[in-house]
Structure formats: C-alpha cells, structure tokens
Symmetry: C2
Subunit: 146 residues, 2 copies
DNA sequence: AAAAGTTGATATTTATAAATATCAACAATT
DNA sequence: AATTGTTGATATTTATAAATATCAACTTTT
C-alpha cells in the first residue's frame, strides 16, 4: 500500500506524519523551525509530507536520540556539506553566498540572492535531498577531494 | 609572561590548566576520555598541557556552551575532517583506515595499523592541530574541492 | 617522610535541550 | 453549519548531557 507510491509526492498532513513517525505534531514543527526539514506547503499554508520526508525525519531522529547529536550539532554538520561543489556554482556566486561563507546552518536556511540558487526551491535540491546522513556527507567530501 | 613561551610546549599540570580555564579537573579528563583532546603525558602518566592545548579547549568549550553542539556532535564533525587529504595517504592506506571509512569520531581516536599514520603521534599531527574550529574545517573542505 | 597533587573509576548534581501541552484564530472536511 | 484538523506563539514538562563530587591508590614536591 505505502510501497508503490512516489517517494517524493507530498501526501500526508502533519497529524498523519506524526502518527506514522510516532512523535508529536509539535516536534515536527520544531524540526522545521530549526531548518532541519522543509515540508511541502499548500496554498493555504498547510504542510504535507512525502515518504522521502518521513525517511529524512527518521534519520534526524536517530542522530538526536541514538547518536546523541544536538540539533545545533546537526545544523553545523549540514553547514559543512560542499553545496558549491554539488551545484557547481560560479566563483561570483560563491562570493555572494552566505551558505559558502558561513557555517552555522545548512545552505537551505540562507537567502540566496544573486546566485544560481536564487529562484530554485531548496526542497527540490540535491543538496537537501541527497545528504541527510553523515556517511553520505563524508562520501561526498571524499568524492570531491583529490 | 605567558606571552613569550612556546605554544606547543607542554608546561601546565592538570590543576593549573583547570585554573587557567576556570573549569574542573574532571571536565578536562572527560574531554580527553571523549577523544576531544590529547594532552602530553609524562613517563609517570601525568598530564601536561601546552598553551595551544588551552586554546583548543577554550574553542571546544565555546562549541559546547555557546554554539550548543553536544560532545557527540563535535566528535562527528571532527570525523568529517578530510585527513586523507591532509596526510595525502595512499589508496591502500585509505582502504585499511577506519578513520577514512567510518564517521563516529576523529581520526585520532582510531588505531592506524598498516597506514602512514601507524607510528606517528596524533598529538603532533596537522589534522589534530590545525582543524579545531568549524570554519577551519570548512575552509579545508573548500581548499581540497574542485 | 609528610604534604600536595595526580590517577582512574563510580556516583551524584545541575543545567538545559528536546519534547510536549495549551491556546485562540483560521482551514478543511463531512 | 458543525466537526475535525491546522496554524503560530508561549509556557511547561521531562529526559539527559555536561559538569561536579567522592574515593583509595599512586606521584611528585619540599
């Protein structure tokens, strides 16, 4: 039933997502406020979560509850993702980009004026979608290093 | 007085270090147990801290108390330091190296049999000495990326 | 040789991050 | 039109990480 649905389709309202994950609605909103997740939003501003979102959240929960990494720790780890390399953005973009130049949170928590990311939706970006776990981030760093 | 002493010379016993940092002796030993710091040890097993050690510890304290990154978070961040690039170790070394292949703690917390690091003292290594802060680590990742 | 400091190990305290609850205003569903 | 669910904001609870304390055995200092 849940097997053959599109991973990326935003289907579940917040209460369903909370039930499936066995956490409270408030916790989901907190993760969002901290910038760990970016749920889809309807025109009415209501959230919808995809299967991929749920998997992402499970992964974040493991980091917090099993690996004992604080939310600020996770944000800092995300800030180390070499997004510039994933997007292959220009030297000029990098100069303008807070994500490139700071290290307090993930790139998707910054505004991106005057960069290749300006009009893109971070929810649909590889940087957000593909590097949720620490091993994925480390493999990325390996792959871009000489 | 403290200005013109060698940064790297291990001079201060643990009680002096604790006083200078305004923390308890126990906390210093805890940071060591967690693998965040590697103090110098005398033949009698007693610890000595250098000025550089004190600066490193201050930096770790800021991460914990101001940036609210948990100790496990810091360990995970350190595990992302591309040590293989700093040491320029061989393909074979990398295959044998837990530091390269895992991501729970800094490279200096692993054994290094059959690698270039085998007989080196991690306390004296660039990886340990030069990449204490998050911005330093991010700059390193930038510098090795294409 | 006595005093002061260190060792590791275990137990306890405290500070606070993470999670939950409550609320009135608004949206969606039947 | 009534019920159910959502929104953000603020306040509260709880779980636990970080820090401290205690201990006997061992070193160093004077």
């Amino acid at each position: 039933m849940l097997e053959n649905i599109d991973n990326k389709e935003p289907l579940f309202p917040i209460s369903t997502a909370a039930k499936l994950l066995n956490i409270s609605v408030h916790t989901l909103r907190m993760y969002e406020r901290e910038g760990l997740i970016i749920p889809f939003k309807k025109e009415s501003n209501q959230r919808l979560y995809s299967k991929a979102d749920l998997e992402r959240i499970e992964c974040i929960r493991k980091a917090i509850n099993e690996s004992k990494i604080s939310i600020n720790g996770i944000k800092t780890i995300y800030s180390l993702i070499p997004c510039w390399s994933v997007m292959n953005c220009s030297h000029k973009d990098r100069k303008n980009c807070k994500a490139y130049n700071e290290h307090t949170g993930p790139c998707w928590n910054y505004e991106h004026p005057k960069t290749i990311c300006e009009k893109r939706n971070c929810r649909d970006c590889d940087v957000y979608q593909k590097y949720t776990q620490c091993n994925e981030i480390k493999e990325l760093i390996k792959s871009i290093s000489r």
